[in-house]
Amino acid sequence: MSLGFTEAQVQRYARHIILPGIGGEGQRKLLDSKVLCIGAGGLGSPAAMYMAAAGVGTLGILDFDKVDESNLQRQIIHSTADIGRPKVESATDRLRAINPTIDVVPYDTILTSDNAFEILEPWDVVVDGTDNFPVRYLVNDATQMLGKPLVYGSIYQFDGQATVFMPGQDAPCYRCLFPQPPPPGTVPSCAEGGVFGVLPGIVGSIQATEAIKLITGLGEPLIGKLLIFDALAMEFTTVKIRWDADCPVCGKEPTVTELIDYDWFCGLTPGQVPPEAEHGVSTTA
């Protein structure tokens, strides 16, 4: 039990345990941590796989969708043999294969205002791997109200973004930047606009990095900073983002004080499961 680790843990996590900045203490924090990944798609795939490998002790994965052949170009947590399976089932198998020593908690469901608090409450950190605005606003609002850090990532074609929304007046939330969702039909999804397959691999890995930094206290998390990635120019740009005192959720006088189910795009109503991911309403990027 060197440093409180079993020999098997020392073997598995040796490269972390000997790494200044993480060491045994950081690895113990990872093993004791609980991270929920919203979405088992393009962003959730690398984020969850790296967090499982890193030894995040309890890893939640939420998705309502089934694996479609068109997902496999970027959603590397799933395999060809998984086509047609629920994504959380496929993802859970993969995560347990990577690291059978962690607890994987699957949620085969849609996040709604009815279940969001209950689902999000047990987790230390939430990773947003969604690609639609109703869930993105729901996750932002719920994590702000619960006081939980949210690791945000988004992708569109060849461009990606990532940041950390830490509840509190020192840092902004998603609504500080975008107080209201865009009107349905005005923003194309991956299915409608296309997406460079490797892009979510990069952004999702950045999200895993930020989640691990939050857990271990290592480095400077992307709080109050938006990282913008341009894959074609291969440029990373960081811009400052500020807390908005007039923010409807985290401002001085909040106007959004309960969770809202925004209309799903493409004419779907809250709780209605889209027939196929190609229709652009998948939970995941």
């Binding site: 060197s2 409180g4 790494l19 200044p20 993480i22």
Partner: protein, 135 residues
């Protein structure tokens, strides 16, 4: 109270002077409060005002201590530009996570010809000096 043979103190002074002006650090292992081996360790911060045990060395030392059935008796480090006390930085970065009941040996090298070492116990982030007897 901690009793320390002069031979261990000499090893600590030697290690402290070897990495001066950076802070030196190490672990004192033993059994039933009797020091058996001093492990001079690399300061991963390579700094003159703070220290952290190199985690790779720490793992190797911890394994040796486990194999030998030794306990950690004290965490040693030097102050190269200040006195023998637990500074705010020490208290903030002390490896108390591993060793919540650990004692600390702080050696001041303000006067390198006359190193001054004191012992402390840290509980809930508060350091209290303990008697140190050099035999």
């Amino acid at each position: 109270m901690i009793e320390l043979d002069r031979g261990f103190l000499d090893e600590m002074v030697e290690h402290g002077l070897a990495v001066f002006p950076n802070e030196a650090c190490g672990l004192l292992a033993g059994k039933e409060d009797r020091p058996i081996k001093f492990f001079p360790m690399r300061n991963a911060d390579a700094s003159s005002d703070r220290f952290s045990l190199d985690p790779g060395e720490h793992l190797i030392v911890a394994r040796e201590m486990d194999q030998e059935g030794w306990e950690l008796l004290a965490i040693f480090h030097t102050h190269t530009h200040s006195g023998s006390y637990m500074s705010d930085t020490d208290l903030k970065h002390a490896p108390t996570w591993y060793y919540p009941e650990a004692r600390y040996l702080v050696m001041s090298l303000l006067d390198r010809s006359d190193p001054l070492v004191k012992a402390f116990r840290v509980v809930d982030g508060i350091a209290t000096e303990e008697e140190l007897v050099i035999a």
